[in-house]
């Protein structure tokens, strides 16, 4: 096992940041800790690195109990959200830092350090910048140097705290793919923290969804996306339409539209429920195809890159429904504002209760 966390709890004055978290990460895996800001994911990462201490619980890294070790003996690589490069040292010195501060008995020779630094900088494609200072590099370049610096000490595990969130969208996406490729080459057990579900879905081997100091669900991106364990996970993993209603005779009524309640809710007559529909799982047509269609009016049309976003007022619904349709369909339908359309829900998910985001 690469990382084993057992019953980690951390309280700050007034609130519980982490509530009895247990988590196992297989050696060589890349794990995403996904959750809204303030959910405790960064605190968890800092506790693993020893930058903060847990009130209780145990941390085992690659088979070694590191719970009570000081941070410099934990041997973890940490990549910070705002890079935290040493501004007075050039790129070479930044990467060499972890090797140069080793006690003399463990410190590699000068030429070994040079070889290692050059190798790492080649790995992160920054070998051209040896003599540059952090202020002379772009955000993406800085973060790659920070990664090389963290890897220089051969860490047991690599921890990345929102590594791409300070970068602009284009660079973020590039770096994301690049990190995935790099991880496939070096296989160091890694955890990265993010609040961006797209980043987690694209990059991670497994996703751990955290909310209010607790793990809501963990699994592969596919599992988590397709079979969300609860309303929070469903909601957090992408855009969604939420409809409130009650279970009545085993079905939930949405406007004029009925949906079968899930098995566990069938017998709970009158229970409040929430029905979720993702915008891209909504069908739009100009002709009524079957009995269960909803009729609505297009209020707004938005261009979302390859998709078209529609905002539709439907009869019997308090709030307009968001739908996303492919561009081609949009062109075929020749949709305009104010058009009458028929809406079908291709996939719906019903959860019990009045869950609040």
């Amino acid at each position: 096992m690469g990382i084993e966390l057992q019953n980690i709890t951390k309280n700050f004055t007034g609130y519980t940041a982490l509530d009895n978290i247990s988590l196992n990460v297989a050696s060589g895996d890349l794990i995403a800790l996904l959750g809204p800001s303030g959910c405790g994911k960064t605190t968890l990462l800092r506790i693993i690195a020893g930058l903060e201490s847990a009130d209780s619980g145990k941390i085992i890294l690659e088979g070694k109990d590191t719970t009570n070790l000081p941070p410099r003996e934990k041997n973890v690589g940490f990549v910070f959200q705002h890079y935290a490069l040493f501004r007075r040292l050039n790129v070479y010195e930044n990467v060499a830092f972890g090797l140069k501060v080793l006690p003399r008995s463990k410190r590699p020779s000068k030429s070994e350090i040079k070889d290692r630094v050059e190798h790492l900088l080649k790995l992160v494609q920054m070998e051209w910048a040896l003599k540059r200072y952090p202020s002379q590099l772009s955000g993406g370049q800085r973060q790659r140097v920070a990664l090389a610096r963290a890897l220089a000490v051969n860490p047991r595990v690599l921890l990345l705290d929102e590594p791409f969130s300070a970068l602009d969208a284009k660079v973020r996406q590039e770096l994301r793919r690049w990190l995935r490729k790099l991880h496939d080459e070096i296989h160091v057990t890694s955890i990265f923290v993010t609040h961006d579900q797209e980043e987690a879905l694209e990059l991670a081997d497994r996703i751990v969804v955290i909310n209010k100091g607790k793990i809501e669900q963990q699994g592969t991106p596919q599992e988590v996306y397709d079979h969300p364990a609860n309303a929070f996970v469903y909601n957090f993993l992408g855009n969604v339409n939420v409809f409130h209603g009650r279970v009545h005779e085993g079905v939930v009524t949405l406007g004029g539209h009925t949906v079968d309640a899930p098995d566990e809710l069938k017998s709970t007559e009158g229970k409040t429920s929430q029905t979720f529909v993702r915008p891209h799982e909504i069908g739009i047509s100009k002709i009524r195809s079957e009995g269960n269609d909803l009729e609505g009016t297009v209020r707004e049309i938005r261009l979302l890159g390859g998709q078209i976003g529609l905002n539709i007022d439907c009869e019997g619904f308090e709030q307009p429904i968001d739908a996303e349709i492919p561009r081609e369909l949009y062109l075929n339908l020749q949709l305009k504002k104010g058009d009458r359309v028929f809406v079908t829900f291709n996939k719906v998910k019903v959860f019990a209760g009045d869950y609040e985001i």
Partner: protein
């Protein structure tokens, strides 16, 4: 750093200045100039005019007089002890306040300004009351053959107190702005406390530290009130330059008094020049991060 900065996205926008009307500008400039002439240039000029009133010969004699030389020596000794000590205290205090959280931190930060708020005379009196020969502690020290009040150690202690805040006040905002990220990164990379301080923290604060030390030194050279209380004004032994100036003046030896005072002015001007050089360097450095 000869290569151009890559990460600077857009060059700073040069905005067309929106100016106040001409008469307003003229008035403000004239006022500033008048103030400067009346309160800075004129008095400074007078100091030198008085100093050279009786000619070069007299000036050199006054400056070379043994008591004056002793006063200069004592002032320089005090500065060489006080500045490094306060640099050390200042860095420790700034480090403690910005990098740790502990109970009473806010109070400590406020108390740091106390030496500025308290009148220097009172600062001097505090030490007389604490260490003077009539207090139990002072008596005990006397029995050990240690004399503090009316001697060099007293002058050093009083100056230490008065100039304590300069370095810390310079460093606290700087270190707060820089945050703990770099130190934390160094920590996860396996560095020990002193390695982090020497390799990361110190280089990051060096200009601010130097700036604070210069201000501290300037004040230490010129300190009058606190030192006057603890010194005892023994010529050739416990007279610093400002005290010596005062003694000469009260003896109606104006030319000599101003000659020695011109030394202080000269030291002050040097400090201001060095300060402005460092300030420029400091600004240039704080731009890159």
């Amino acid at each position: 750093m000869s290569t151009p900065l890559l990460s600077q996205g857009t060059p700073p926008v040069v905005r067309k200045k929106i100016s106040d009307p001409l008469p307003v500008r003229m008035l403000l400039i004239a006022l500033t100039l008048l103030f400067f002439i009346g309160f800075v240039f004129l008095p400074l000029g007078l100091v030198f005019a008085q100093a050279f009133q009786k000619g070069w010969e007299f000036y050199l004699e006054a400056v070379r007089e043994p008591y004056t030389i002793e006063a200069v020596k004592l002032t320089l000794t005090t500065v060489t002890i006080v500045v490094p000590l306060n640099a050390f205290f200042g860095v420790s205090a700034a480090w403690a306040i910005t990098k740790f959280s502990f109970p009473g931190k806010a109070a400590l930060k406020t108390l740091l300004d106390l030496p500025f708020a308290v009148s220097p005379v009172i600062a001097g009196l505090i030490f007389v009351l604490l260490l003077g020969s009539r207090t139990p502690f002072g008596t005990w020290l006397g029995e050990q053959g240690i004399k503090i009040i009316f001697s060099t150690p007293g002058i050093v202690i009083a100056t230490l107190f008065v100039t304590f805040p300069f370095v810390a006040r310079e460093l606290i905002p700087l270190m707060e702005a820089q945050g703990r990220d770099e130190e934390e990164a160094a920590l996860t990379l396996g560095a020990r406390g002193w390695q982090i301080f020497v390799k990361i923290t110190l280089p990051n604060i060096r200009w601010g530290l130097l700036y604070g030390m210069i201000l501290c030194g300037a004040r230490a050279i010129g300190e009058f009130g606190a030192v006057s209380v603890v010194s005892g004004h023994i010529r050739g032994q416990t007279n610093t330059i400002p005290l010596h100036v005062e003694i000469l003046y009260s003896e109606y030896n104006f030319a000599a008094s101003f000659a020695v005072a011109s030394l202080l002015v000269f030291l002050a001007l040097t400090t201001v020049v060095v300060k402005s050089i460092i300030e420029k360097k400091f600004q240039k450095n704080s731009l890159q991060h």
